[in-house]
């Protein structure tokens, strides 16, 4: 299907289109050098291994991790989060999560809670609260700490609106309290500065296919200095190309957590995506997206019948509803007009509850590097048509 005429405002789901160099490198891997890394030392196996190591090194640099071996490839953010949560938590632990968490945090923890393994509490992100401040967020966290609190999990940037959490301060707080700090970087990787070491993050979970512009099929878990292979249990066991005579997964980073064949073509593409982000600079990318957000907010804010949510936070994500029209219908009508958005609950039960969206959820427009102001204006025009009943 030809996408040239579509307006793609669903970058929070996956970035699209992918840059040409990402596509070319993904294909080149499959045609020129894509052996199976760690399954031999012939030319193609080693070439694949080099590309994978190159990507680890780029990601380590991008996210402030000193050792590339602390970059563990995963299928996506969700699988990275599952590994971090299930690998680090022990029976009886108490966990703190923000009230804006995605289901990729809420669901694994809910399952563990139902099984009687852990308990968790939600701390207020204060999204939409005019009194919001870092100090108040930390105070809210402090109130919920118990002697069994072992971990705090927070999204860095919400997938519903452009609110962000103060990672540096939360990391320092957790470090002082001896609490593990796990960050969901799904919406911030490639959009905001993140440094695992500086921010005292113990586990950063990121996708390759959103802000980092890579193909779907890869993400990563980046481990802080204090997490040892002994401390992080495995979720998946199997062949990893080393110590094949051992019955247990070796205690070696990152191979301990990379059983099975890695998605080498996706990783190869991700390499190029990270290079592009590095070249453009996350600050410039963020500023570009904020510019689109501001224009969209201005146009929608001036329309009767539009409700915006948490639009005081500027970034890549704008959430809204059209009064009297179900969100999914708005999404469908926009799609018929060639505009791609996501409607509904966005896999974020907690977030929608916190933002107070009605039944049916809301409509989300999320911007990326290939969007421009003309597209935002066309989008606003389409919404006006829908509101007029055209």
């Amino acid at each position: 299907m030809e996408h040239g005429s579509l307006i793609y405002f669903d970058n929070a789901a996956t970035s699209f289109p992918k840059p040409r160099s990402v596509v070319e490198e993904t294909v080149r891997c499959m045609t020129d050098y894509g052996g199976n890394a760690g399954r031999g030392t012939h030319a193609l196996a080693l070439a694949a291994a080099e590309k994978i190591y190159e990507c680890r090194t780029l990601l380590a640099k991008q996210f402030g991790v000193e050792d590339p071996a602390r970059v563990i490839f995963a299928l996506n953010t969700t699988s990275a989060l599952n590994l971090a949560l299930k690998g680090l938590l022990r029976r009886g632990d108490h966990v703190l999560i923000s009230d804006m968490e995605h289901n990729s945090v809420l669901r694994p923890l809910s399952k563990m809670r139902v099984a009687g393994e852990i308990t968790f509490s939600e701390f207020p992100s204060m999204t939409g609260d005019p009194r919001r401040s870092t100090e108040k967020i930390l105070a809210g966290i402090a109130l919920l700490i118990t002697p069994k609190t072992r971990m705090l999990v927070t999204t860095h940037a919400s997938n519903l609106c452009s609110v962000t959490m103060p990672l540096r301060e939360i990391g320092a707080f957790c470090h002082q309290k001896g609490i593990l700090f796990v960050v969901d970087g799904a919406q911030s990787a490639g959009h905001e500065r993140i440094s695992v070491d500086e921010m005292k993050i113990d586990a950063l979970c990121i996708p390759g296919h959103k802000g980092l512009l890579g193909p779907q099929g890869c993400g990563a878990l980046l481990l802080g200095k204090n997490i040892t292979p002994e401390a992080l249990g495995t979720l998946v066991e199997g062949g990893n190309g080393m110590a094949s005579l051992e019955r247990a997964m070796p205690l070696v980073l990152p191979e301990r957590y990379e059983a099975g064949t890695l998605p080498t073509p996706a990783i190869a593409g991700l390499c190029e995506g990270v290079r592009i982000v590095e070249r453009l600079g996350v600050d410039a990318i963020a500023e570009h997206e904020r510019g689109l957000f501001r224009r969209a907010r201005e146009l929608l804010g001036n329309m009767d019948g539009v409700r915006l949510y948490a639009d005081e936070y500027e970034g890549a994500v704008l959430l809204f509803n059209l009064n009297g029209i179900p969100a999914d219908r708005v999404g469908r009508w926009l799609s018929e007009r060639g505009i791609c958005v996501r409607s509904g609950y966005h896999c974020s039960a907690l977030g929608h509850q916190t933002l107070g969206t009605p039944e049916g959820g809301a409509v989300r427009a999320s911007f990326g590097i290939y969007n421009d102001l003309a597209q935002v204006e066309h989008f606003a025009f389409a919404l006006e048509e829908i509101l007029r009943g055209v």
Partner: protein, 90 residues
């Protein structure tokens, strides 16, 4: 097809004095060590160690010119990269 960096023609490595093998463990560990040595202008190729010290099977290491072994040891030690065993074929 671009020749991967690890496919160094064997004759260059095997010029004089034979080869040394640094047993490292995982493939990532071998690549990390290779990167460190490359920064010190010491070429190496990643290889599977034929008879690893641990008898665990499937262990990776680096082949280096035996003449470079002393330098390589110093560089790797300085980078806090632990080599499980050194072997030389002369």
């Amino acid at each position: 097809m671009k020749i991967p960096r690890n496919q160094t023609p064997p004759r260059i490595i095997q010029e004089r004095g034979g080869n040394s093998f640094a047993e490292l463990g995982s493939l990532t560990a071998a690549m990390k060590a290779q990167e460190v040595l490359a920064a010190a202008a010491i070429p190496s190729t990643v290889e599977k160690i034929e008879f690893p010290s641990s008898h665990r099977g499937c262990v990776y290491g680096l082949r280096i010119s035996a003449m470079q072994e002393k330098n390589a040891r110093a560089v790797l030690t300085s980078a806090r990269i632990s080599v499980k065993r050194w072997n030389t074929d002369r």
